[in-house]
């Protein structure tokens, strides 16, 4: 069987972002595995290799999950398929 090289990776089933594992174009349909489920996301931005995009709409103030952990908080509403980077997320207030 010839397997197509995957475009993005989700590291934990709780995550609401995926990481591109090659440069992806705006409008591209990307299929990713979230746990045992397959999810298809249409990209609203070009996503450079190793950058992230939203798997779901993330409202302003909501937590951003990668590795199953909170890596940041949304600074504004982020749409499914949007580039998730320092322009729209930032370090959460550390509770520790």
């Amino acid at each position: 069987m010839i397997r197509e090289r995957p475009k993005a990776i989700v590291l934990h089933s709780r995550d609401n972002v995926a990481t591109a594992i090659r440069d992806l174009e705006v409008g591209e349909l990307v299929e990713v595995k979230v746990g045992s489920q397959s999810v298809v996301v249409k990209l609203l931005d070009p996503i450079p290799f190793r950058h992230k995009f939203a798997l779901l709409d993330i409202p302003k103030g909501e937590e951003v999950y990668k590795y199953g952990e909170v890596i940041a908080t949304a600074l504004r509403d982020i749409k499914r398929g949007e580039h998730v980077h320092i322009h729209n997320i930032a370090s959460p207030q550390r509770s520790a």
Partner: protein, 387 residues
């Protein structure tokens, strides 16, 4: 999946060795040359040169003595020749007695008492020869996966490390911990930003608080020199490569430790009381953090890298894991395992993790790593100040 059987050397303190080295251990930098000469004369003995052992604050003297003693007590070591100058800060007699308390054959050679390098080398080589011959008669016996204490390390990381090599190692770590074995993760500096995640995974409030404390203490120490360790993280190169926050960067690093509960947080070079996942307070500097792993009793070290560090330690095999296939090709003579397959789409994290677990067992059973075959020999001891 292959049958995962482990064979190791039963040591008198109950721990299991997966190598059978005779260690030639200097108490002080001035004894390094004699140690190296002895190790050169006697095959099967290995010197552990390091830069320290004198001009120490009392607290550092204790730290160095503990580290040397516990490294000598590492189950991969079958016997020890301690080489002392005679006027150093480290108390060679106390160190030798400490090693003997672990039930390990040990002999002390004192350079000043013997009149210099030549006599000390000759006496030390005779002791090493006797120990090598004795150790060579020991046989490996079948042991459980629970006898394994894995060291977790990274160096020359790249942005793929958090996507491939570290989660793949984390998968293997979880399997070893599930089987009753242990793993130690070091480098307090690299966990900053993710310390609350490790603390939350602690088995008790006390362990969780200790995790947060070692980070606070480290920050404070750095602040004494006018620097802020959190400032500027992630660096611009990280951001360009897709990282957004210090949390994201550090989480990518502590993934090496998998998802097991944190059972213990230990000071530098302390032997953990518990099996399971352990944090040891060390700096991020590889010779010292790996020195801590040896002292903690790790018999095998897994080292993830994106650039391809050549480093190895004298008494334990270091399995080098590349985060990307380019590194695996370019630095192939140093890399034992490629986790870049995960972003190449050839394997899932779990598949690569199973393959890594097979390699860890093969190496524990005696297969040489590239760092071992090339004789890479890094070792350092943490001190706060050199007087």
């Amino acid at each position: 999946m292959s049958v995962r059987e482990l064979f190791g050397y039963l040591r008198s303190d109950g721990r299991i060795g997966f190598r059978n080295h005779i260690l030639v251990l200097p108490t002080v930098v001035c004894a390094n040359q004699v140690c190296q000469d002895i190790a050169h004369l006697v095959r099967g003995s290995v010197a552990l040169p390091y830069h320290g052992g004198c001009g120490l604050l009392p607290a550092d003297k204790e730290l160095v003595t503990r580290c040397l003693c516990h490294v000598a007590a590492n189950p991969n070591v079958a016997g020890v020749v301690v080489v002392s100058l005679g006027c150093e800060s480290v108390d060679a007699v106390e160190l030798t007695e400490g090693i003997a308390d672990f039930g390990k054959p040990v002999e002390l050679i004192q350079i000043e008492k013997l009149g210099g390098t030549l006599e000390a080398t000759c006496r030390g080589a005779r002791a090493a020869l006797r120990m090598v011959l004795e150790a060579s008669r020991l046989k490996r016996e079948k042991v459980g996966l629970d006898s394994l204490m894995l060291g977790l390390e990274c160096g020359g990381s790249d942005p793929a490390s958090g996507l491939t090599a570290n989660p793949v190692l984390g998968y293997a770590t979880d399997r070893i911990v599930e089987a009753g074995g242990g793993a130690i993760i070091t480098e307090t500096t690299e966990s900053i930003g993710a310390e609350h995640v490790l603390a939350r995974r602690a088995v008790s409030t006390r362990v969780g608080e200790k995790m947060l404390e070692i980070v606070r203490r480290y920050e404070e120490r750095v602040r004494q020199f006018g620097a802020d360790i959190r400032e500027g993280q992630p660096v611009p190169g990280n951001i360009e490569a897709g990282l957004t926050t210090a949390e994201e960067k550090s989480l990518g690093c502590v993934l090496k430790a998998g998802s097991s509960p944190l059972v213990e947080v230990v000071e530098f070079a302390v032997i953990p009381n518990q099996k399971g996942l352990v944090v040891m307070d060390t700096p991020g500097f590889d010779p010292i953090s790996m020195g801590g792993l040896l002292a903690g009793g790790c018999q095998v070290i897994c080292f993830t890298t994106g650039r391809g560090s050549p480093s190895g330690v004298p008494i334990a095999p270091v399995i080098k894991i590349s985060s990307n296939s380019e590194c695996f090709q370019i630095m192939n003579e140093h890399i034992d395992f490629n986790a870049g397959t995960v972003i190449d789409g050839e394997e899932k994290i779990e598949q690569a993790g199973e393959r890594l677990l097979d390699l860890i067992i093969e190496v524990a059973n005696g297969a040489a790593t590239k760092a071992e075959a090339l004789g890479h020999n890094l070792f350092g001891v943490w001190t706060h100040m050199q007087l």
